[in-house]
């Protein structure tokens, strides 16, 4: 019994999530947004950057593996 996701599945998922979050964090504003949807913009930005860095880390790992095989 194990979760059927490979390292590359997670990497792709991280890429998609980081793009969504980065766009959301850049577009979101207390003035332009709906007044009912309140959230901490700074924390959203931190989360989006963390996801982006995690994705880049998986890419770096991928590059490392390729160079190692050569």
């Amino acid at each position: 019994m194990q979760i059927p996701l490979t390292f590359w599945d997670i990497s792709e998922w991280l890429a998609v999530m980081s793009i969504i979050l980065l766009i959301a964090s850049q577009l979101a504003s207390a003035y332009k947004g709906a007044s009912t949807a309140l959230f901490n913009k700074k924390r959203l930005r931190i989360a989006s950057l963390t996801m982006g860095i995690l994705f880049l880390a998986t890419v770096a790992f991928h590059i490392y593996q390729i160079t190692k095989n050569i």
Binding site: M1, Q2, I3, P4, L5, D9, W13, M17, L21, S29, A30, Y31, L38, F39, N40, K41, R43, L44, A47
Partner: protein
């Protein structure tokens, strides 16, 4: 999000779950169940759904504000204090000027104080005279008051990660617009300009407009102390420039607020 209150029965607590909290909890629970099922059925689709639901649940929990109140609450909560201040200033019929003193006048240099002078000439109290317990002094005649924007100015310092004492006017001119618009989102636009001893601040659609409008109805408070935001900026200016500051003018034109300060001793 989770509101806990103590029940009348000793040792028991009632937890009120808000709709947002319920939604987030459901997302996390569904995500966890979906992940568990994906492991059993070896379904990657279920795994993706589970992973995403759990992630968004935790993310929403992380980015949701602890608590928020409508702006009207802030306005009505501050009005009584301002009215008391107005009564005090009106009863002291000789009030002539409100001067925001630089830190040299206080023992606690991180604090700020307003000296309401009873003289037409701008006579300042002696250094450290503001430290004494009494509110009113006789030489020069006047009284010391805590500025309405003191705590807001402290919040500015916290957000900037530095005390205004450690920076100068140039830093304030450069950083204050960004702080008010992007960091704290107090205003949609902000501009600070310095012309010799005059500092002009222009704010677009700031969130304290209603409170400032109410303060304008209290002539003495408005004249000597300014509204919450102009007072906070005056505290920051007094600290950064180390010069006494007077709020010369504060006008509202549509959504634009213009505040003019004068640095004394230039």
């Amino acid at each position: 999000m989770f509101k806990t209150r103590k029940s009348k029965q000793k040792g028991t607590y009632i937890v009120r779950i808000t709709s947002t909290c319920f939604l987030i909890s459901t997302m996390i629970a569904l995500g966890a169940v979906s992940l568990a099922f994906s492991a059993f059925s070896s379904s990657s689709v279920l795994a993706f759904i589970g992973l995403s639901l759990t992630f968004w649940g935790v993310l929403l929990l992380y980015i949701a504000p602890k608590r928020h109140v409508p702006l009207e609450m802030l306005t009505v909560a501050s009005l009584s204090t301002l009215r008391n201040m107005e009564k005090l200033l009106t009863s002291m019929s000789q009030c002539e000027k409100g001067i925001y003193l630089p830190p040299e006048y206080m023992h606690d240099v991180e604090s700020s104080i307003v000296f309401v002078s009873f003289n037409e000439q701008t006579l300042l109290p002696g250094t450290r005279q503001a430290d004494k317990e009494e509110m009113c002094i006789k030489n020069p005649k006047g009284m010391f008051l805590t500025p309405p924007g003191l705590e807001l100015s402290t919040l500015f310092e916290k957000q900037l990660g530095t005390s205004f004492l450690a920076v100068g006017l140039d830093f304030l001119r450069e950083k204050l617009p960004d702080l008010l618009t992007n960091n704290l989102e107090i205003a949609e636009g902000a501009e600070v300009s310095v012309d010799n001893s005059i500092v002009k601040v222009q704010l677009e659609n700031h969130i304290f407009q209603a409170l400032c409008k109410e303060t304008r109805k209290l002539p003495n408070t408005h004249k000597f102390l300014g509204c919450l935001l102009s007072s906070a900026i005056a505290c920051a200016l007094a600290k950064a420039t180390r010069k006494p500051i007077i709020i010369m003018e504060e006008t509202q034109d549509g959504e634009t607020t213009k505040i003019q300060y004068r640095m004394l001793g230039e």
